[in-house]
């Protein structure tokens, strides 16, 4: 099978990493990237920094200069609209109506995900999601005017945005239907600490409530009615209620879709020959089931991209889902979560040290399988290492880790076993 041309659809974290990894592993064929944005996008972890004025959009997008040096051809402003079922070609269309049909020997789908809009908002109504460079720049203008902002959603993006903007003079309100912040990532205690960090920085946090109605006010503003009966007026509303991949265009393409995204195995291969998927759009099904798990983080996207590059070149790599974790920094406080959420319920060690330090470690057969930690300068790398390697922990080491007194464990003196996360 010839491998003269690799086509990558999407140029986010995963798409960019696939190009880089292919070149790093010696692939010298033709790489074509199809990207719907007409300018290099701002990486999502950097969007909040752009809004806060800590980073210029051009500075945040400088990773994309790599593409030129890698010899990658990019079709900016082209959106993939069709993947032919019986032919190896993908059709992309630009905003002006032009259309191209690109043939491929290997295809990588890294189309990312789109923000979710709750039904209470009118379709077509301009709502910001903090998903693109343009939205980040628009929000930055609002910050300069010290306007009022309502963030709908209580996830990491909402928390980071509120934490950055309130000290800069904006009136920020965070509304979440969950009983605590970052509910998918943290437990109640850690979520309570997150709410306290935000409140101390001047954010109005309203938990356990939802919107009942939204009335437009000006170009971007709105009057929001809550189910509690309260009314809020805002110059701008940011909806941060999660993301879903837009993969409807792949329905008749021979690529099997899962509950939300594109189903892949651990080699990131889809059901169609020579088609891979990675990043936010990939739903990894380890056992070949009808549904899998979507890892919506930058580090997962980069790791998956490495696997894709290795798999395309026949190097036999596979993705390790346990390598993931999530870290959110609010001010100086870090909120860290590792492992599956259901495993966090088996509490073994719980530590609360001082008003801002908390740890909840879950063990199975003396091995760390999940962790929720809050504090400053946390040993994130160590925790990930312990989970990945399945290191046996003594009681003393475990207590020291929970209390924040443990920096390293000498792996060599412990029995090493397979990770059973």
């Amino acid at each position: 099978m010839s491998l003269d041309r690799v086509v990558v659809v999407g140029c986010g974290a995963a798409g960019l990493a696939v190009c880089r990894e292919l070149r790093a592993r010696g692939y010298d064929g033709n790489i074509i990237v199809v990207e719907q944005s007409s300018v290099p996008p701002v990486p999502k972890p950097a969007l909040v920094s752009v809004v806060a004025g800590r980073l210029e959009p051009s500075q945040a997008s400088q990773r994309y200069h790599q593409l030129r040096t890698l010899g990658v051809q990019v079709l900016w402003g082209y959106r993939a609209v069709e993947l032919a079922h019986h032919e190896d070609c993908v059709v992309a269309r630009c905003a002006q109506g032009g259309q191209v049909c690109i043939e491929w020997d290997a295809l990588v789908l890294a189309v990312g995900a789109r923000p979710v809009l709750p039904a209470v908002f009118e379709a077509g109504r301009q709502v910001l999601h903090l998903h693109t460079r343009a939205e980040a720049v628009m929000l930055r203008e609002l910050v300069r005017r010290h306007g009022s902002l309502v963030i709908v959603g209580g996830g990491p993006i909402a928390c980071k945005l509120g934490c950055e903007l309130a000290p800069r003079g904006c009136r920020v309100t965070v509304i979440s239907a969950s009983p605590w912040l970052m509910a998918r990532m943290l437990d109640g205690e850690a979520g309570y600490l997150a709410a306290r960090v935000l409140t101390n920085r001047g954010v109005d946090v309203r938990l356990g409530t939802e919107l009942s109605a939204v009335q437009p006010r000006g170009n971007t503003g709105a009057i929001l009615k809550l189910k509690t009966g309260d009314t809020l007026a805002a110059d701008c509303v940011v909806v941060a209620k999660g993301q879903r991949p837009d993969v409807r265009w792949l329905q008749d393409s021979g690529v099997r879709l899962g509950r939300e995204g594109i189903l892949t195995d651990l080699e990131m291969k889809t059901s169609r020959d020579r088609v891979w998927a990675c990043g936010d759009c990939a739903e990894v099904a380890a056992t070949g089931g009808a549904t899998g798990v979507r890892f919506g983080s930058w580090s997962a996207a980069v790791n998956q991209a490495r696997v894709v590059a290795g798999s395309i070149l026949g190097l036999g790599t596979s993705y390790c889902p346990h390598a993931g974790g999530n870290v959110v920094t609010l001010g100086a406080t870090q909120f860290v979560a590792f492992g599956r959420s259901e495993q966090r319920t088996g509490i073994r060690v719980l530590a609360r040290r001082g008003p801002d330090r908390y740890a909840r470690l879950t063990l199975r057969r003396s091995r760390l399988v999940a962790a929720v930690m809050v504090g400053e300068a946390l040993p994130v790398g160590l925790v990930r290492h312990l989970i990945l390697r399945g290191t046996l922990l003594s009681e003393d080491e475990l207590c020291a880790l929970a209390a924040g007194d443990l920096d390293y464990i000498v792996i060599g003196r412990h029995e090493r076993g397979d990770c059973d996360v």
Partner: protein
């Protein structure tokens, strides 16, 4: 060739001077928890091994940083550009040795203090030094070979290695 911080664990007494000096250089405070160099206790206080960034050749932190805030200097070590760092913690998440921490919203790691590390200067037992990674590997190999020779010599009653004619 990449330069790294070389540690001689036989000389280290675990006094933690390196941590204090480093934290003061990085944050202006004497807080060992915020130091880029960490003391490791080996075998329950029988010995010590300070530990810090190994300046990896193919560093994961460089690859994963979304804003390219971690760069390799012409001299060969990796440093974090504080103006670019967005404090996303991805580097600390992927570092296989756990040698990067996010402190006050910015990634902090050993950058060899620009080539003249304060921990080396202040170490009371000269347990730390800056050297090229290749030299370190050679020195370690030589030390292993010497230890092996000594082991054989001890097993043969101090006669040394017998030469075969």
């Amino acid at each position: 060739m990449a330069q790294v911080l070389a540690v001689d664990p036989r000389r280290c007494t675990g006094c933690r001077t390196c941590e204090l000096v480093c934290s003061h250089a990085k944050t202006g405070q004497f807080r060992p928890t915020q130091s880029a160099i960490r003391r490791v206790t080996v075998l329950d206080d029988l010995g010590f091994q300070p530990w810090c960034c190994l300046q990896c050749t193919d560093a994961e932190c460089v690859q994963v940083c979304p804003v390219q805030a971690i760069r390799r200097t012409p001299e060969g070590w990796l440093e974090v550009d504080p103006d670019s760092c967005i404090g996303c913690s991805l580097c600390s998440l992927v570092c296989p040795f756990g040698n990067i921490r996010v402190i006050e919203g910015y990634a902090t790691k050993c950058d060899l203090c620009g080539g003249d590390p304060l921990c080396v200067r202040w170490c009371p037992r000269n347990a730390l030094a800056v050297d090229e990674a290749a030299n370190l590997a050679e020195a370690k190999a030589a030390a292993s070979a010497a230890a092996y020779r000594k082991l054989i010599a001890d097993q043969r009653g101090g006669c040394g290695v017998k030469r075969v004619q």
